[in-house]
């Protein structure tokens, strides 16, 4: 698939990262560079500030007695086709310390908070040292007040004696105005999360987000269950964009070996990915309508959505988690009659949506609720690294399907489609982007169905062996934005006690050594406080809705080495009471 030769790519990488200790060429222009831990922040500065590339994800891998591998994946598609540079730095097990990348770019802040709390890595100069997924008060150690993972005393998270903990980024002293926790249970957001907004009357003056209630240890589960079973776990990261999680997982796993996926399987994958996007965007329009109090919009769109669900059910047999993704293909074919009948349903649906959505988008009250709400300019967009429709609504043309497609079908020669951008930079832009994308996706679906109705063929290639130690990256454009899977094949330099006697220290296995998932909501949620500042309280749910939050996505997990138990967390009512007290003071 790569257009440029490997050597040209390698030469370019050596130019960009002269500090590299070891260069490893992956498949499909993914380059893995081992660097010294001290160089990481210098490189980040050069990459993000000078070259203007995005940090896709930062994460850590626990290698037992070999210490920790910290990986930083940068997206270089701007310069070379499909180029992803992954920097890897090894840290010792004892006192792992590294310079913070978060102080260079906000994109790494959440990732670093995650690594700090789960792996116990100290980041020097970290801008935000609070817990990311664990409760702020965790753990309850009365003697030291410091978690086993947090052997640094630089940033104590415990309250001083006589001070009431106010778990927000706002100091208790200046919390004169009411502090309103939105969540964990709030009818505007189904899932558990807490967005603390500090309000003066109806005016939000500060906001902060606490996630982590959905931390389910999914990455660990996938690592345990291996490639073949792991795909089903991956699908259940999020029930709304399950198709994209499946595709990104199998793409990452196929990136580990020379996979030759049949074209028909790729078409079926594209078909389902786009159907998933159609249903997800319709769902979002309905939820957004409900968030601004428009039950009619919700009912109408969800009524239409059922027709998409019918098509999906006819093709896969399921409505939510499709379960048809396999390494090297898919498990179910789309027959000719099915393709034709689906096409008829879809075209009828398209007509109805074309009638319904434009007058909806022109509704004066809807416009008044959306225009100028939750603005995010391009600079903040880049700084926080938002992805997907949120970035595209701020006129940033990023789309994985165009920049770094998961497979060859998104080639404009095979399927005609376009990336939608909008320069409203606000809630209204996000509505327009999603509405237009909906129609683009439907066009793609129709083209895929045409192809599937005309041809027949294999849908699954034979599996091959995965070499230990290979690394791969799977990308896909989920409805909410870029979805990133990093995978490293298991068996590399396993510690001796885990090996059978007399065998070589390296052995392949059916389990990946690590899987790292970076979901789009992870990035978009990190940008939420920037959007929430200076809005009205009535706008908070719709701004939260505008990024199409998916906590189930966000709170997927980092590897954890200590066996943990969250011992204490504030309940809704306690928070309410606490905010009341602060409000009265």
């Amino acid at each position: 698939m790569a257009a440029t030769s490997d050597s040209a790519i390698m030469q370019y990488v050596q130019e960009v990262v002269p500090e590299g200790l070891e260069y490893k060429m992956g498949r499909e222009n993914r380059v893995f560079v081992r660097v010294k831990p001290d160089d990481v922040d210098k490189l980040a500065e050069r990459f993000t500030k000078k070259l203007g590339v995005r940090l896709s994800h930062a994460s850590g891998v626990d290698l037992q007695q070999f210490g920790f591998d910290i990986i930083y994946a940068y997206d270089f598609t701007k310069y070379k086709e499909r180029l992803q540079i992954v920097l890897e730095a090894n840290l010792p097990r004892e006192n792992p310390t590294i310079n913070s990348v978060g102080k260079v770019t906000w994109q790494a802040v959440w990732a670093e908070r995650e690594m700090k709390e789960f792996l116990g890595i100290n980041f020097i100069g970290m801008p935000d040292p609070r817990h990311q997924f664990l409760p702020y008060e965790w753990p309850k150690n009365p003697e030291t007040g410091i978690s086993p993972a947090q052997n640094s005393t630089t940033y104590p998270v415990e309250a001083k004696p006589g001070e009431k903990w106010l778990p927000v980024g706002i100091s208790p002293k200046d919390a004169i105005s009411a502090l309103v926790p939105i969540g964990p249970y709030h009818p505007g957001v189904i899932e558990g999360q807490t967005v603390y907004v500090k309000v003066e009357g109806e005016h939000v003056i500060d906001a902060d987000i606490k996630t982590g209630y959905h931390h389910r240890g999914i990455q660990r589960l996938i690592e345990r269950r291996g490639y073949n079973k792991g795909v089903f776990v991956a699908e259940r990261v999020c029930g709304i964009c399950s198709a994209h999680h499946g595709i990104a997982f199998v793409t990452a796993a196929e990136n580990l070996y020379d996979a030759e996926v049949p074209e028909r399987a790729l078409y079926i994958r594209t078909l389902l990915a786009e159907l998933n996007r159609v249903h997800s965007h319709i769902l979002w329009i309905g939820v957004a309508a409900d968030l601004i109090g428009w039950k009619t919009g919700f009912m109408l769109t969800w009524g239409l959505r059922e027709r998409v669900m019918d098509i999906i059910e006819a093709i896969t047999g399921n409505r939510v988690n499709y379960g048809i993704w396999r390494l090297g293909g898919v498990s179910r074919d789309v027959k000719q009659e099915l393709a034709e009948s689906s096409k008829r349903t879809l075209l009828a649906l398209k007509e109805d949506l074309a009638k319904l959505l434009p007058p909806v988008a022109d509704h004066p009250i809807l416009k008044s609720r959306c225009i100028g709400v939750g603005t995010l300019d391009l600079a903040t967009c880049f700084e926080t690294g938002v992805v997907g429709p949120v970035a595209r609504a701020s006129n940033w043309k990023i789309d994985v399907r165009m920049d770094n497609p998961p497979h060859a079908i998104y080639d404009p020669k095979k399927i005609s489609w376009e990336v939608i951008t909008d320069d409203h930079r606000d809630m209204y832009g996000r509505v327009l982007v999603r509405v237009k994308e909906l129609f683009v996706s439907m066009d793609i679906v129709v083209q895929c169905l045409d192809y599937l109705a005309k041809t027949t063929g294999e849908i699954r290639a034979k599996p091959r062996t995965i070499e230990p130690g290979t690394e791969g990256i799977g990308l896909d454009e989920a409805p909410r934005g870029e979805l990133f899977y990093y995978m490293r094949a298991g068996g590399t330099e396993l510690p001796e006690y885990m090996m059978p006697e007399g065998k070589h220290n390296v052995q392949g296995s059916n389990q990946p050594q690590c899987v790292r998932i970076r979901t789009p909501s992870y990035r978009n949620n990190a940008a939420l406080p920037f959007m929430l500042k200076d809005c009205a309280l009535a706008d908070v749910p719709i701004i939260m809705g505008s990024i199409d939050q998916c906590q189930a996505c966000t709170d997927r997990v980092e590897v954890i080495d200590a066996k943990t138990e969250s011992s204490y967390s504030l309940s809704w009512d306690e928070l309410v009471r606490m905010s009341q007290r602060k409000g009265r003071a």
Binding site: Y213, H215, L221, G239, S242, E306, N321, C550, K563, D573
Partner: protein
């Protein structure tokens, strides 16, 4: 049957009680309220506050961080109340539940914390199954009040 007992069956109000999970069952629960099924025909309504609810629609496995909230929300619902567990995770932890080594982040199904009356298995159950589960919950609701009266 008196009119009070009847009205209890005729007007079940739901509170969407998300206990952590993948969102799949949540969107299916909302889909069950959409025009194709329209349970408002039978007076089934979604309410915003747990204090107004009769039936709790519990979805998802419970991550350990959710434990206090799950208990708290259950306590906030006035009696008589019924919990309907929707989906494989809410019935038994599903694939998130792992023994040996156990999943550090997951407690298991919500029935470890709150009494669950109706189980609707499936990943995710179809809206028809969810409505059926709610109907079973309504029948239990009618029985519950009788039991309270006798006691």
């Amino acid at each position: 049957m008196g009119i009070m007992a009847k009205s209890r069956i005729y007007s079940p109000w739901l509170f969407h009680f998300h206990c952590g999970g993948c969102n799949g069952c949540d969107i299916e629960t909302l889909a069950a309220l959409s025009p194709r099924w329209d349970p408002e025909r039978f007076g089934i309504q979604l309410v915003p506050s747990p204090r107004h609810a009769d039936i709790l629609i519990a979805t998802g496995c419970v991550p350990k961080q959710f434990i206090p909230m799950v208990k708290r929300v259950y306590e906030q619902v006035p009696d008589p109340k019924v919990v309907v567990a929707i989906g494989g995770c809410a019935c038994g932890g599903s694939l998130f539940y792992n023994e040996d080594p156990d999943n550090y982040a997951i407690l298991g199904s919500p029935d470890l914390l709150v009494p669950v009356d109706v189980y609707v298995p499936g990943c995710a159950p179809k809206p028809e199954a969810i409505i059926n589960g709610i109907v079973q919950g309504i029948l239990k609701l009618a029985e519950k009040k009788k039991a309270v009266k006798k006691a």
